[in-house]
Subunit: 166 residues, 2 copies
């Protein structure tokens, strides 16, 4: 018995704590979207990068389709997360899409087992990884792009929300 415990994988974080952690990040990202002036959200950028609206739409789309893949156990093929012609026209519409995905995560997450998070699959028909690593990629990508949004806000003379407030 003692040996079994010693050799099995040790938990770093539980599935439920990970949901809470991600939703905390999503709450912060939502406030960063809100902090952008309407026009700058859609047209401001630095160094030839995408405007923050396009970074946010990538994050929304990955989380939305990602939850489908994780919860169903079947990953659809996705060639690109570009939003040609599919971009919301207003900040309000973007925030509605954001909130829909937030609800979807809370609704679908409890159906995903620990064993399923450990399973190696080919996410979006392209990225082979353990499902926990795929999910961490979603969160990390959100943090990455949000950090870029902080620079845009600073360059616009706007104080971003505190990073540590979730």
């Amino acid at each position: 018995m003692e040996t079994q415990v010693a050799t099995k994988q040790e938990m770093f974080i539980s599935t439920e704590a990970m949901r809470t952690h991600w939703q905390g990040h999503r709450s912060l990202t939502r406030r960063v979207i809100e902090a952008f002036p309407e026009d700058k959200l859609f047209d401001f950028s630095i160094g030839g990068m995408r405007p923050f609206s396009e970074l946010v739409m990538e994050v929304i789309d990955i989380a939305d389709r990602g939850m489908d893949g994780l919860a169903s156990g079947t990953w659809e093929e996705v060639q690109s997360f570009d939003h040609n012609g599919n971009m919301p026209k207003t900040k309000e519409d973007m925030l509605k899409l954001w909130d829909n995905v937030t609800e979807k995560i809370d609704a679908q997450w409890p159906s995903i087992s620990s064993a399923h998070f450990q399973k190696v699959q080919v996410a979006f028909g392209q990225y082979e990884n353990a499902n926990y690593a795929t999910l961490l990629y979603f969160v990390d990508n959100e943090i990455h792009h949000r950090g870029q949004g902080y620079v845009y806000l600073r360059a616009l003379g706007i104080e971003p929300p505190f990073f540590w407030e979730r």
Copy 2:
């Protein structure tokens, strides 16, 4: 027995997988440091933000002292992660500090148990949280500041390393 399994916490990611995940991020951050021209690392910034060297030193210092706190179980009080007068003078010296911390993480990590990661402590004498959440904060803060480094590089006309390569 079935009930016990159903009610206990379900693992999202193991401690060993989390070490690998963090070190993957650290490998990418190291390449972002390397991508900066020597002078720009220390003096370029946007919107009144800190140069990338100062963001990196914060990340180094948090990981360094953070591992001390996590591995010893005793958190020292830290008032600030500012580096007045303590900044390396060259990129090479900064990368040496970086690599020392990378080795320290690999050396100390295996001594930290799952139970210790679940324990709530006051990190650095200020931040009360489960130790897993404190560690995730270190990683998230690194991703956040590295994302900002990507914008600095783009503004300098330099292509950053691919985000998905670890």
